[in-house]
Amino acid sequence: MGAATETFYSVIRRQGITRRSFHKFCSLTATSLGLGPLAASRIANALETRPRVPVIWMHGLECTCCSESFIRSAHPLVKDAVLSMISLDYDDTIMAAAGHQAEAILEETRAKYKGQYVLAVEGNPPLNEGGMFCIDGGKPFVEKLKVMAEDAMAIIAWGACASWGCVQAAKPNPTQATPIDKVITNKPIIKVPGCPPIAEVMTGVVTFITTFGKLPELDRQGRPKMFYSQRIHDKCYRRPHFDAGQFVEEWDDEAARKGYCLYKMGCKGPTTYNACSTVRWNGGVSFPIQSGHGCIGCSEDGFWDKGSFYDRLTNIKQFGIEKNADQIGMAAAGAVGAAVAAHAAVTAVKRLASKREDAKQDH
């Protein structure tokens, strides 16, 4: 705090990180963002000259898994560098200050960096009962969110909670947990979905904003294109087995041991936009499919409400019973088929009867 005029470079040098390591970090970041060879020096230049971006990190209705993921980022560097790169002025979960001291920082940042700070939100506000289901500092979280969003440059919606609603917004959503973009409508919002999002994706987004002083390019749903423009399925290392028609039919069968495609086991890779199959997790060690389990689609809208994690097709609840589209369709088509057959039979009988009648009249 108060160090916001410092640059990222001066902070990390003071922490004993060498210039060589600094440049390594810049190149790695440029690579992970998919930028050209010149970008590394642009990143280095920006981090040496730009004042650090003040970040306010708030926690609504959430489980802190985003924070847990974030602090495990391997590239860019480790948490020290990341926490130095930005000026993390407020994060009630990990900050030293508490109580009124902590809350005072919010006011200070709002006044000092009006329109310049980034508001990172983990979790979402519940709106039911006037927001009483999430009280933060004696006030409903939704009020705090609205106040801080008012003067923010942009908002980062961390995780599935802030982006889509996640488990607390799953049906019947008793607290009326609501994603950020449904509450704040007048600010640019970057959605970084996932439960949690990949650490390197989170730090990558932060680095981009710090480096270029603007938001990364977003897709139609407000997610950064660089990490969310392709499905898990598109870059999955098991994809050749999918194209070949080689599937795991049940857990622990021969195909599972051979690492075939998990499509039939309900893998949501074909409908999930995330970078898991390229960036992977825990410093690139593995990701769910590599560990033998299908993707559950945690970065997708309403993934808790799409039936079992182990079914390809979503259950449709509108029909009262839990059936998927194919079961309902087949039943309906069968009913139509039966109706057609019955109609044909009646037609034949009627025709026969009327022919006989005609024949009688003729005689």
Binding site: P240, T271, T314, A333, V340, H343, T347
Partner: protein, 247 residues
């Protein structure tokens, strides 16, 4: 284009008389009317084949065949099935578009499947008559040169709307593979604004397929039945283009 052109040099048959006089006197010389022009017939059969291919391959994409043995590099089962699905889908889309264009230049029968004259009372009266006919409450069918009002309603919803829905959701799903910068995504990506989770778009695409299965069964059954019961050609009309009245 002219309406209902008779293929021979014979005088145009008096269609109103045929319709009104359905139960009455024997018409002489079995009047025929040219109803379905060549582009309409070509579109019909190309679409029919495409839809059949799409249904079979689509089902197999959702519920794949049993695992094949051997190396992944030696097999391409899902690849071929998906290719057939995408190819048939694009053929259907092109011929569906062509069919729409033909509605502007073709005869008035070619426009029938693209609208329902909801504002015309007489139309609904005749729909009711057709429903009664199918419910065995009418002894004699009315004759129509083109589609009967009930058939027109069914064609508009069951074919035009459903197929349009399938083409739109299909291209949206296809754009997931071709990428965010593809023309497919630019044209059809808005589908994901309605259903942000592509899982839901898949579900609707499945339901649309089953809706088409229902339409196709009723469509084929009604065509065969009317061919026999209404004493006018239906099935051969889609081959020759001519409708023959057999009374």
């Amino acid at each position: 284009m002219m309406d209902a052109v008779a293929p021979t040099s014979e005088a145009k048959p008096d269609l109103t008389a045929i319709a009104a006089d359905a139960a009455g006197e024997q018409a002489v010389g079995r009047p025929t009317v040219y109803v379905y022009e060549a582009p309409v017939r070509i579109c019909h059969w190309v679409n029919a084949v495409s839809i059949l291919v799409l249904m079979v391959t689509g089902y197999l994409i959702g519920t794949p065949l049993p695992t094949v043995a051997g190396e992944a590099s030696d097999n391409f089962v899902m690849g071929y099935i998906r290719f057939a699905h995408f190819a048939a889908g694009q053929v259907l889309a092109v011929f569906f578009l062509a069919r729409i264009l033909w509605a502007f230049v073709g005869n008035h029968h070619s426009r029938q499947i693209f609208y329902i004259p909801v504002h015309r009372k007489q139309f609904w009266k005749e729909v009711l008559h057709e429903i009664r006919w199918y419910a065995f409450l009418e002894r004699e069918p009315k004759m129509y040169v083109g589609h009967n009002p009930l058939a027109q309603t069914a064609m508009f919803t069951g074919f035009t709307l459903f197929v349009a829905f399938m083409i739109i959701t299909g291209f949206a799903l296809y754009s997931e593979g071709t990428g965010i910068d593809s023309w497919q995504h630019k044209l059809f990506g808005w589908v994901f604004a309605i259903w942000p989770n592509s899982q839901d778009v898949h579900t609707w695409h499945h339901l649309g397929m089953w809706a088409l299965v229902m339409f196709v069964s009723v469509h084929i059954y009604a065509a065969i039945r009317e061919d026999i019961m209404s004493r006018q050609s239906i099935i051969s009309s889609m081959v020759s283009g001519e409708r023959q009245f057999r009374d």
